[in-house]
Symmetry: C2
Subunit: 440 residues, 2 copies
């Protein structure tokens, strides 16, 4: 690509040149998240109904910062968030019909951050003389990096990464101990982020027990539940057990852009008492004042998020729910879980591999059997080097607490098929044989 | 719309029902930002080349959080930001070829926030014993509400809204005085946000003089320049004068999604020393580690922004620049400025109206002549009530410092034409006559 922008424009007859550049320059240098062989990170779902909804949103070119700048942008979004709450079996406290409600954030990182800002605001309102430098946030040592990032952005000085149990879920006794140590040291617990489906292994923190610790030791602290990936599975009643206790949470989020057919960006953020967030974030200069806002009867979503401007993202969610229906969404989740169960059975039946963690929905973590971290990592790199699959690496502690090299297989991409999962397993076993014969 | 989501999905033969719902439910309840009569807020530009770029981005479904998760997403973005820096005449320090570089943020609000976080990080690194509770941010009393919002999110306790001069630009002597008062009180100036094109009136803070005050009194403070709207005009050499001194700024942002043909969201954020931002924001768990990042030779844009995930937004910018070329972008800006100059001449020649501020590029602020705030606001409401135009209200201080009701006419929307500007003027004069005959 040239160093400088072109001086002259083109007419439509030259557009094939641009598209040829996309083909020849861009496509070869992309990581193909929608490939059948993509099993890395978490999936980035999309679908043609969502693409169409997004296209209409882009074409309309409307701005939903205030109710008044596009009533339908706000009203459709509120309705869609209520629909999704029904679909996922969320408690009524998160519905817009009460004191709570939902909003589309760009990402779970933003949800984690705005929950933290609301938590601080509520805490300091109740305890105005608290020194902000004493505030402490808590999450598990398996939580997403966005919790640490949020503390850096929000200027929170203390974050505790709580120890986890054998299944990589937060150890609530360790949480209790740490909170008490901090209280005794004059510090102020104000925010706990529970993870429902951790990034490394899909572990589920026990929300009910975390809420009980909070109630006992720091009742004014906020509990946020980050179900960025796993939350999509709650459209199936059999995959809701891990939200037990969410009725005690102050906020909750999940990302349909990961595993529910809706193109990025689409994080659903729910809050039990929206006034906490609005109080924390609302700033109304004269140029944004209007009779609808002044009436107090409408939602201005700019007060629920970091940015002011906002796209009409609810359209794509609406189109996805209309097109697939609850049944279609459940079928989408269930097929991926079934393929992952198949893969789990292969691993369990094969002496060359062992599970590094219990299967979590459509995420399977595995490693070579025995003390072979180096070979596990080499196998992963050899698999990726074929260009036929993409897998990502993590480490997980074993029974002795030692961090062990781990291959994550995240199923659920739009390109994944049962055949592509079978092909992955075939490749892994071939490479395991090669690794074994190299070693002997 | 129903209260609950549908259980069953549909097939493609039922899609006309969905599109009919868009027509009958959504469209009548939108504020039409692309209408010829839309002169409110600032414009929300879009164009078919940008829509096409966005569509390809959505369809590819790729994630640019790391260089490795899509090298082209990162590389094209870096190149486009360099192109835009050349186009706008930005100093070399903001190019990626040195220590600086640019990134696409969602909005200017996010740019203001990440600049503040980087500023705090740099300051505390240089002065580790500073009490964060003493940090003070500065901006003018005409600055965008996002500066206040950023302090709330970042947990900055002190924000000074500096007085403005007769043209509504920051009074740098008042800034100097306030900084010295704060230093004498044991507080710590760390961040100054200069506005290049304020929301109410398009006022330009004197960047060079602000930088001089900083150099003299608080050399470790950060200067961020918010040119969210006006920055688009810098593609024309004759509209760059207001960036004098930007070579002393630590960061700068402008939004092509306002006035440069590129659909939302697209804020260009430039930083002079990217290490400050990356140091402040970077968190690398094992599941995001990769050989490209470890090499230190690539950009991972997740460290430049609040979210982790990111869309391929550079495509739309590339398509816009390819399609229009520098000449086309200049013509776009110049026609809007010319229409606004025409409107300014009408106002100056008409005794019924007066300017509330000097015309700024394509923004004109006016009011009824004399002490008629109530009538000015009523006129604006009457104009909006016709449904033919949309104007937004603000207040601006007059020569006596009294806040006066003001009509903002923001030209530059994709639907605006010279004819629609003429029709607006026709409407305003008719309503002014009616207001006058009502009063007599």
């Amino acid at each position: 690509m040239p160093d400088k922008p072109p001086q002259a424009g083109i007419d439509h007859t030259q557009w094939p040149d641009i598209l040829e550049d996309v083909r020849s320059i861009v496509l070869p240098a992309l990581t193909h998240w929608q490939s059948p062989g993509f099993f890395g990170y978490f999936p980035a779902n999309g679908s043609w109904p969502a693409v169409l909804g997004d296209l209409i949103s882009t074409g309309l070119g409307v701005q939903g910062m205030l109710w008044q700048t596009g009533p339908a942008i706000t009203e459709v979004e509120t309705r869609m968030l209520d629909w999704m709450a029904h679909l996922g079996g969320l408690p009524d406290r998160f519905l817009s019909t009460g004191a709570g409600g939902g909003v589309i954030q760009g990402t779970a990182s933003e949800a984690t951050l705005v929950a933290m800002v609301a938590a601080r605001h509520r805490f300091r309102k109740a305890h105005p003389h608290t020194n902000p430098g004493t505030l402490v946030a808590y999450t598990s040592n398996q939580a997403h990096s966005s919790v640490l990032k949020a503390t850096r952005i929000a200027g929170i000085e203390h974050l505790r990464l709580i120890a986890t149990d054998a299944n990589h879920a937060m150890d609530t006794e360790a949480l209790r101990t740490k909170i008490n140590e901090d209280l005794n040291a004059g510090l102020t617990p104000f925010y706990i982020c529970a993870t429902a489906g951790s990034t490394s292994s899909g572990a589920f923190d026990p929300i009910d027990r975390i809420a009980a610790v909070r109630a006992e030791h720091c009742p004014d602290a906020w509990v946020h539940v980050d179900a960025a990936w796993a939350g999509s599975a709650t459209v199936c009643p059999e995959h809701r057990w891990f939200l037990e206790g969410v009725e005690h949470a102050d906020s909750y989020c999940t990302n349909p852009h990961k595993w529910l057919l809706t193109n990025f960006d689409c994080d659903l953020f729910y809050i039990a008492d929206r006034a906490n967030l609005i109080d924390a974030m609302s700033v109304t200069p004269e140029y944004l004042r209007n009779s609808a806002t002044d009436s107090g009867e409408v939602i201005d979503y700019r007060d629920w998020q970091v940015p002011l401007g906002r796209r009409f993202r609810a359209l794509k969610l609406w189109f996805v729910m209309r097109h697939y229906g609850a049944e279609g969404l459940r079928a989408h989740i269930r097929q991926h879980v079934a393929w992952t169960e198949w893969l789990e059975r292969q691993v369990l039946a094969d002496d060359r591999f062992e599970l590094a963690a219990p299967r979590s929905l459509s995420l399977l973590c595995l490693r070579l059997t025995g003390d072979r971290d180096h070979e596990t990592k080499a196998l992963l790199e050899a698999a990726n080097a074929t260009g036929r699959v993409l897998l990502t690496h993590t480490t997980l502690p074993d029974a002795d607490g030692r961090e062990r090299s781990t291959i994550r297989v995240a199923i659920g991409g739009m390109g994944n098929t049962f055949e592509s999962v079978q092909a992955l397993w075939q490749l892994l076993t071939e490479l395991a044989d090669a690794a074994t014969s190299d070693a002997t």
